[in-house]
């Protein structure tokens, strides 16, 4: 970070260019996935005459609203492969980007509260191990050794019967991740263009040749849609449908406290996930609001439900004060897995449908999206996640591992 005198504005990490009239590739969406896509387009594929078009400000959507959890303990082979690729990239990115974004591998516990939970969890641990993903099954007593503030008393409505544990999982500071990618993109010549909303697509027959934006027409034969909650809105402008539904997803933080929570705890059954940020806030999330919505806010009873769950697991939080709640818009797929690949429009690619769990996948999503845009072919990691799976029936049902929020 640049040294600056008190009161002086620090050096900008990226330029604020006006859009050029054309680029070799355009990425729609300046969130984590869009930034990572542009980063790997430049770094892995040598494409530096490219632009990121962001309708608001950089990383102001779900990248600013997630609960920063990173893990790769998904059930199916296809998911384990892409999320584990992401985790391996996370492990090298702070050094590669020369930016300490507080990636902390403090582990994640996914609690089991019923016999069926236990069976599903043990199955997932074994599946993870077969896929080279670190995973262990812990008894309730072992859970308490990892996270002493969890209430493992059998005398509660939903007792903790055990948990899966992934030690390499953790958290990272989301906005620093965005800034790290943005600085690296900018240094390689990528134009990051904010306040530039895509309002339409220019096509020659069935081939995309550019986009109309609030800052003028921008031509490009290769366009990637990386717009999370607004993917359906963009797809409609391009003339096709996506099998996603946009829902509000809420999260909240407490006031700052001394470090009390050493890991990440998730519980599908009582419906909450909790970690403690470096600064000291307890960060909690839960499920989506049931209705479709683009309002970046949800209903208060959802928060009430998640606080009840948090208090059952962590009685120590009884006197904690809520500091702030917020909502983002997540695009949820029927099988709780993302869509990454070609669209019905030639030259137009989509990365969407991550639902409630896109942050953890940021680097891998960018890696495979860049490959797909640069070569016109899916990478082996995103080949199973194409739109065609809804026709072939080869769904990747991750409702269990995607868990809490679906």
């Amino acid at each position: 970070m640049a040294n600056s005198m008190p009161g002086e504005h620090p050096e900008w990490l990226w330029r604020d260019p006006d859009p050029k009239s054309s680029y070799d590739a355009v990425v729609i969406g300046g969130g984590g996935h869009g930034l990572a896509t542009a980063y790997y387009l430049a770094k892995n594929h040598g494409m530096t005459n490219i632009a990121i078009l962001e309708k608001g400000w950089l990383a102001g959507g779900n990248m600013a609203r997630n609960t920063t959890i990173i893990r790769s303990n998904y059930l199916w082979d296809e998911s384990a492969a892409i999320y584990e690729h992401a985790l391996k990239l996370w492990e090298q990115l702070p050094e590669e980007l020369d930016y300490d974004f507080l990636f902390s591998q403090r582990g994640v516990l996914n609690l089991a509260h019923s016999l069926q939970d236990v069976r599903d969890s043990v199955r997932r641990v074994e599946a993870n191990r077969l896929n080279g993903v670190d995973a262990e099954w812990l008894t309730a007593e072992e859970v308490a050794k990892v996270c002493p503030i969890i209430n493992i008393s059998p005398d509660v409505r939903y007792p903790v019967l055990g948990a899966t544990y992934q030690p390499r999982a953790g958290i990272a500071k989301h906005d620093h991740v965005a800034w790290a990618f943005a600085r690296a993109c900018d240094a390689m010549g990528v134009d990051i263009i904010q306040n530039c909303e895509v309002t339409g697509f220019i096509k020659d027959g069935n081939r995309v040749t550019g986009v109309e934006t609030t800052r003028g027409r921008i031509l490009s034969d290769t366009v990637g849609m990386v717009a999370a909650g607004h993917s359906s809105v963009l797809a409609e402008k391009a003339g096709f449908r996506l099998p996603v539904q946009s829902h509000p997803l809420q999260a909240l933080v407490s006031e700052l406290y001394e470090p009390v929570h050493p890991t990440v705890v998730m519980s599908n059954y009582v419906h909450v996930y909790v970690s403690q940020a470096h600064k000291g806030e307890l960060v909690m999330g839960a499920g989506v609001d049931q209705y479709n919505g683009y309002g970046q806010r949800g209903s208060f009873h959802v928060i009430e439900h998640q606080m009840a769950a948090a208090l059952e697991l962590f009685p120590i939080f009884g006197r904690a004060h809520l500091l702030r709640t917020w909502g983002g818009i997540v695009d949820v797929c029927p099988d709780a897995s993302p869509i990454i690949g070609a669209t019905p429009v030639d030259g137009l690619y989509v990365n969407a449908g991550w639902g409630t769990g896109g942050f953890k996948a940021t680097p891998a999503a960018g890696w495979v999206m860049a490959h797909t845009m640069a070569t016109g072919e899916s990478h082996e990691l995103n080949q199973p996640f194409g739109l065609e799976r809804f026709t072939t029936g080869h769904l990747i049902d991750e409702h269990g591992a995607a868990g809490v929020a679906h």
Binding site: E236, S246, N292, G295, S299
Partner: protein
């Protein structure tokens, strides 16, 4: 929390209701005749508009009947409620949400 007017029970809290997604999606008349693409559209693809959306709700904590609503997905305002037998009402942009919701179905 939303407040939604059940056509039979009147205005109640959202917690009494369950959501049913897009309304007016008919079961295919001849399912066996559908191509894989058409079947995929029926099973997995739903409209996801940013704006007025005709959707299903069930008053599961009350009369347990299904009904339809038009709700604006930007503001979450319920613009109209109507029974399953009624066609989707025309929503004029000038109509205020309170006017329509109060009139109900």
């Amino acid at each position: 929390m939303l407040q939604i007017k059940c056509p039979w029970c009147g205005l109640r809290d959202e917690t009494e209701y369950k959501y049913g997604g897009q309304a007016h999606v008919a079961y295919p008349e001849d399912p066996a005749a559908l191509s894989d693409e058409e079947w995929a559209q029926y099973l997995f693809f739903r409209d996801n508009p940013k704006g007025p959306f005709a959707e299903r709700w069930v008053h599961s904590g009350g009369c347990r009947k299904w009904f339809n609503a038009v709700r604006d997905t930007r503001t979450y305002e319920v613009l109209a409620v109507y029974t399953n037998n009624d066609p989707r009402p025309e929503i004029s942009p000038e109509i205020t949400a309170t006017g329509v919701a109060a009139g109900g179905q």
